[in-house]
Each structure stands twice: as structure tokens, then as C-alpha cells.
């Protein structure tokens, strides 16, 4: 999480939170002491379910919330004690918070005018062109669509060339199609201006599509931090494994080790896992949760069990449910070791025998398994995604 010194000076440096926490007057702790470094010029996402402390963290960087402990540093400057209007950061608010009494031009010019800049016309027009709203300059916010308002909010913040742009669920109010469009748009703008973006969202796909680095937050702490592919392939807790996509778990015991490869026993079955994909202690006799993503699993009918290559992890079960969704088919498989396993199979050559009730063999490359500490709740993070999807 370090950056070269040249970019640090160019963009004003990293955002560094040290031991920062927030406990409200009513005793609720929104953020437990956490350390976080956001490299200058990166697109960083804080991902988590509602109430996990991600927005509070963002507001502490903006200065709208006073941290109970800890410090906020922007580059070399300690801004912990500075009020929001003295910090070189700007925020895109969740409901945009555009000033209803000012037109679009004056909304965008607001920050420049407050800093005593007299000739704002050229800059504002350029900024409105960047977000493709040049024609709307004299309209009032309520005359624009949601997507346009969102772009005004971005323009109003970006025109000040902040060291850091904070985005608080900026796409939450938009419909799905517009949201996809704005994700690309925001990513384009970020690449173009090179400013550090810190993006708060509860949408895991949004975080993975847009951000260079994602911090998954849960109950006021950062569960795991890393590049989207790294988080998805190597989750270090069941929360991350379930919150980012879907995961299947098998409870196992470590029965042996050969080089890098661990041999695991689950019931009467044997499974393999590479030690470098395991975040739990790998002592023989220890308990583990072996995880595997649904799309890594191949599914064959029990009659063809002999066709499964040697060296693959395999489990047997029966199809409980299947749903055809065009590009793929999603199966739910029940078995002695794989209770409620989800399997996504691409619809390349569909086997007509794979219907609910059919006996099947599941198999996958051992390299696609990951190992987690067995003391965790297997369901952690899974229910929360559904709640948000329903909301």
C-alpha cells in the first residue's frame, strides 16, 4: 500500500487514517479503531452492508463527523482538527444535496465563489462540459433527471480540484441501467482527472467494477482489503466470501500434508487444498472450512463419474433445484458433504439428464479451493446481501 513519491507530491499524498474510531453520544460505536491508507490517485471503495461504519468513516475524512479517537492525515497534513470548510476534500452526497435555490451554474460555482475566485465562468462551463451538462446551466436542480443531478453533484465537487473526492453511495438512487452507465462515467472521470476517489457503496459489483482497491467493512472494522480479484479469489473470512459473490463451504479436518498441498478429510471423502490459499493455521488435525466458488465447479451425471479426471476434488450429491438463466444454469445440489451447494454451469452443451432429483458428481481443480478458519459463522455476510437486494 505504498505509492511512489512523485505521485504523492503531484496529488497531495495518501489519505492515512490512524487508529480512527467513532462512538456516538448514545453509546453506539459505528467505527472501531481502524487504520487505513488510501494511495494517492487511486479509486478506493469502502464496501459493506448498511450500518457497517463505511459512511461514518467517509464523513470523518470529510470533517462532517468528529472522530472519537485517532487522526486523519492528507499527505503530510494532519487535518483531524480542521472543520470541513478548511479541508481540501469534497463530497458527493448520497441524495446529491444540490442547493434547490440556485441554478446548475451557481451550484457548480459555489465552491469557487466561497474561496473568493471572481472569474468562474470559464471553469464552470468547462466542468459542465466534462459531465455533459453544458445546455442545462440555467436550470434549477429539480428540473433535471436523477442521473443529471448526480452529474451536477460530481461537477460541483470536482471543480475545486480536491486532493480527495469522497462519494457517499452516489449511485444508490439511480435505476440499474443508469447505474451501470454512471459507473463507467465515474471511472472515466477519475482516470481523466487523476484525483483520489473514495467511494462508499453496499453494492459489491459496483465496488469490484470501479475500484482499484476495495476495503470490505463489517461491524465497524475492515475485514479485508485488496484488489477486487484478490478479494474474490482469496477471501480470508466467511463474511468476505459470502458478501462478495457466493461461496460453498465444506467442514474438513487436515489429515496430511505433502509439500504445498494439504489433504483434508470430510466424512469419508478426501479433498485437496494448497497451503498458500489457506488463511487458517495448517497444522495436521486442525479444523478448516474449505470454500469454492459456484462457477469453478463442474457438474456431471453420476453415470459419467468415471469421466472425472484424477486429481480433482470431487463430491457426490443430488440436484435439488435448477434454474435456467440464459447464459448459465444454476443448480442447488444436496449431498452428505455438500448441503445446499450452488453450482453455476455455462450453457455450452447442456446435459438433459441434469434435472432436479438426478444423482450427480461435482468436481473442481484443487487450486480453486480456499481455506478458512473453521470457528466462523458459515453464513456470515450472506443474509446481509439479500437484505440490501430486497431494500
Amino acid at each position: 500500500m505504498t505509492t511512489s513519491s512523485s505521485t504523492a507530491t503531484e496529488h497531495g499524498g495518501d489519505v492515512r487514517l490512524t487508529g480512527i474510531s467513532k462512538t456516538y453520544d448514545n453509546g453506539f460505536t459505528a467505527v472501531r479503531p481502524l487504520d487505513l491508507t488510501v494511495p494517492a490517485g487511486s479509486f478506493f471503495a469502502l464496501l459493506g452492508a448498511s450500518g457497517c461504519g463505511k459512511t461514518t468513516t467517509l464523513r470523518m475524512i470529510a470533517g462532517l463527523e468528529e472522530p472519537t479517537t485517532g487522526t486523519v492525515r492528507l499527505g503530510d497534513q494532519d487535518v483531524t482538527g480542521l472543520p470541513p470548510y478548511k479541508r481540501p476534500v469534497n463530497t458527493v452526497f448520497q441524495s446529491y444535496a444540490l442547493f434547490p435555490h440556485l441554478d446548475i451554474f451557481e451550484n457548480v460555482a459555489f465552491g469557487l465563489r466561497r474561496r473568493g475566485i471572481k472569474s468562474v465562468k470559464k471553469q464552470v462551463e468547462e466542468m459542465l462540459d466534462l459531465v455533459q451538462l453544458g445546455e442545462q446551466a440555467r436550470k434549477k436542480p429539480h428540473q433535471l433527471s436523477g442521473g443529471q443531478q448526480q452529474r451536477v453533484a460530481v461537477a460541483r465537487a470536482l471543480i475545486n480540484h480536491p486532493q480527495v473526492l469522497l462519494l457517499d453511495e452516489p449511485l444508490g438512487a439511480l435505476d440499474l441501467k443508469l447505474r451501470r452507465q454512471m459507473q463507467l462515467e465515474l471511472k472515466r472521470i477519475q482516470t481523466e482527472v487523476g484525483i483520489t476517489f473514495i467511494h462508499v457503496t453496499h453494492d459489491q459489483e459496483e465496488a469490484m467494477t470501479m475500484a482499484d482497491t476495495v476495503a470490505v467493512m463489517n461491524a465497524g472494522t475492515v475485514e479485508q482489503l485488496g484488489a477486487p480479484t484478490d478479494l474474490y479469489e482469496n477471501p480470508r473470512s466467511t463474511f468476505v466470501a459470502n458478501f462478495l459473490g457466493t461461496s460453498n463451504f465444506v467442514s474438513c479436518e487436515i489429515s496430511g500434508r505433502g509439500g504445498d498441498e494439504l489433504t483434508l478429510t470430510a466424512g469419508d471423502g478426501k479433498l485437496a487444498l494448497f497451503a498458500d490459499r489457506c488463511s487458517a493455521p495448517t497444522t495436521t488435525g486442525g479444523k478448516l472450512l474449505l470454500g469454492v466458488r459456484p462457477e469453478k465447479i463442474s457438474i456431471v451425471h453420476a453415470d459419467d463419474a468415471a469421466s472425472v479426471p484424477v486429481g480433482r476434488n470431487r463430491l457426490t450429491g443430488r440436484i435439488k433445484d435448477s434454474s435456467f438463466i440464459g447464459v448459465s444454469t444454476q443448480y442447488v445440489v444436496e449431498g452428505p458433504l455438500c448441503d445446499g451447494f450452488e453450482v453455476y454451469a455455462q450453457n455450452v452443451e447442456r446435459d438433459p439428464r441434469l434435472v432436479p432429483g438426478a444423482e450427480v458428481v461435482l468436481h473442481w481443480n484443487p487450486a480453486h479451493s480456499f481455506g478458512l478458519d473453521a470457528t466462523q459463522d458459515v453464513e456470515a455476510g450472506a443474509a446481509k446481501v439479500e437484505e440490501d437486494a430486497a431494500a
Binding site: 470529510a62 470533517g63 462532517l64 472543520p83 470541513p84 470548510y85 478548511k86 476534500v89 469534497n90 463530497t91 452526497f93 448520497q94 441524495s95 444535496a97 444540490l98 442547493f99 434547490p100 435555490h101 441554478d103 459555489f110 465552491g111 466561497r114 474561496r115 445546455e135 446551466a137 440555467r138 436550470k139 434549477k140 428540473q143 460541483r156 465537487a157 475545486n160
Partner: protein
């Protein structure tokens, strides 16, 4: 029947409007009357005499000027105080906030005549000389609750994130208040101020108790109604009505222009 069913809403609306405006129409028409005798109750002859000499009646324009002065001062003071109280009640949590919140409504709920009598008792016990100042103090008191109510409704519906956004965009506390809070609360403040002006200008009961020898316009009208009503009263009434209508029309036109697409 079909026609009636289709247009019933319009007819009901027009009837209600007629009911509301008929008294005003009568006042206006009789301002052009030339009555025989002292009472302006019967139509005799069209004349613009009263309009040409609006201050032709002794003491009337003096009382009008006192009423206007009191109304302006009562509006200014109660609007300033009421706006601050409203912000305090909505924005801050302080001891006795609940009590203040309900006590502020009391002047609106209390029978005016009771309030008038108790105010008089208070002033007399304090040895205050009744007149302009006692009327003004009384008016500020009862206008205050109306201003607080009007402004409070507006402040409560205000998104606190707007002020946070202003602060985020480099506006200090004073700038935030002047550039964002005040303009957004302005319609509520204006409504409160108009209400205060109207209430103060035509108040009779409380004023009558606490006026001493000062005569306001409503008191003058009341007094002259005993001895005969000069046409000039209708002239002043009609003029006030016209000023109010012009204010409303200008306000609506400004509001419409503000909301019209700029394209």
C-alpha cells in the same frame, strides 16, 4: 344533469369564492358612494369624493399611521425573534425545549380577550404608561407564535445535508447561513412576516385594552361606527385590499418565473 355533474366542482368553487369576496366587493362599491347623513349603509349616488380626499376625516389618517408603524415594528421584531426561536427549537436539544415548544403555541390558543385583560393587569402593576409602546409589546408577543410556527415548518423540512454540502464546499458558518440556510428558509420567514403584519394591523381586542389614549386604525373604525361611518374608511379598506392583491400577484409571478425552464 350530465352537465351539472361535470361542472359541480367548478360551481362549488365559484360559489365559495363569491362568499369570500362579496364583503370586499361591498366595501369597494360603497367607497364610491355619496351617502345622505352620517351612515354609509345605503347606496345613493356615485362619487369619487372620498377617493380624492382620503384624509378628509379628522384623526383617521393619524390613526392609520400609528397602526402602520406598530405593524411594521411588530413584524420586524417578531420575525427576527421568531426565526431564531424556530431554528433553536428544530436544530438544538436543550433543557426545557419541550416546554418552550408547547408554551409558544399558548398565545394562539388563548382567548384574545383573556390575554388582553391579563396584559393590562401586568402593565398597570408595573406602572407602565399605556400607549404606543404597550401596544407594540403586546403585538410582538402574539405575533411571535405565528412566526415561530411558520418558520419551524420550513426549517423542519430542510435537508441538513444542504448545510453540510455548503461547509464541504468551503463556506464557513456565516457564509453557510447567508448563502444556503437563509435563502432556503426565506419562504417560511416571509410567510411568518406577512402573517404578523396582517395580525398586528387589524388587531382590535388586545389593542383596545392596552392602548391608553392612543387610537389605532381598527379602534378609529370602531369608534366612528358608533357615530357614523365616513366613506373614507371604505377607501382605506379597498386600498389595503388592492395592495394585498398586488403583493400576491407579484409573488406568484416571481415564483412562476423562477420555476420556468430557462430554455
Amino acid at each position: 344533469m350530465r352537465w351539472l355533474r361535470k361542472n359541480l366542482v367548478v360551481i362549488a368553487g365559484l360559489l365559495t369564492l363569491a362568499y369570500l369576496l362579496l364583503p370586499n366587493a361591498v366595501v369597494t362599491v360603497f367607497s364610491f358612494n355619496k351617502p345622505k347623513g352620517r351612515f354609509n349603509y345605503e347606496w345613493t349616488q356615485f362619487s369619487t369624493d372620498a377617493w380624492k380626499h382620503p384624509c378628509g376625516v379628522a384623526d383617521m389618517c393619524g390613526s392609520l399611521s400609528i397602526s402602520l408603524q406598530i405593524a411594521v415594528w411588530a413584524t420586524l421584531v417578531s420575525t427576527a425573534l421568531g426565526t431564531m426561536i424556530a431554528f433553536a427549537l428544530v436544530r438544538y436539544r436543550f433543557r426545557a425545549r419541550g416546554a418552550v415548544n408547547s408554551l409558544i403555541f399558548l398565545p394562539m390558543a388563548m382567548p384574545e380577550v383573556v390575554m388582553a385583560a391579563s396584559l393590562l393587569t401586568l402593565f398597570l402593576n408595573m406602572g407602565a404608561r399605556l400607549g404606543f409602546w404597550t401596544i407594540l409589546i403586546a403585538h410582538i408577543m402574539f405575533c411571535l407564535s405565528f412566526v415561530v410556527t411558520a418558520v419551524k415548518a420550513r426549517v423542519m423540512s430542510m435537508d441538513p445535508r444542504l448545510e453540510q454540502a455548503a461547509q464541504d464546499l468551503y463556506a464557513g458558518p456565516a457564509q453557510t447561513f447567508l448563502r444556503v440556510t437563509l435563502p432556503i428558509a426565506a419562504p417560511g420567514i416571509a410567510a411568518g412576516a406577512l402573517l404578523a403584519f396582517a395580525l398586528s394591523f387589524d388587531d382590535f381586542i388586545i389593542t383596545n385594552f392596552n392602548a391608553g389614549s392612543t387610537v389605532t386604525f381598527p379602534m378609529f373604525v370602531w369608534g366612528s361606527a358608533q357615530r357614523g361611518t365616513p366613506v373614507q374608511i371604505n377607501v382605506i379598506g379597498t386600498a389595503m385590499f388592492l395592495v394585498a392583491v398586488v403583493c400576491v400577484v407579484v409573488g406568484m409571478a416571481a415564483g412562476r418565473r423562477r420555476n420556468k425552464p430557462a430554455a
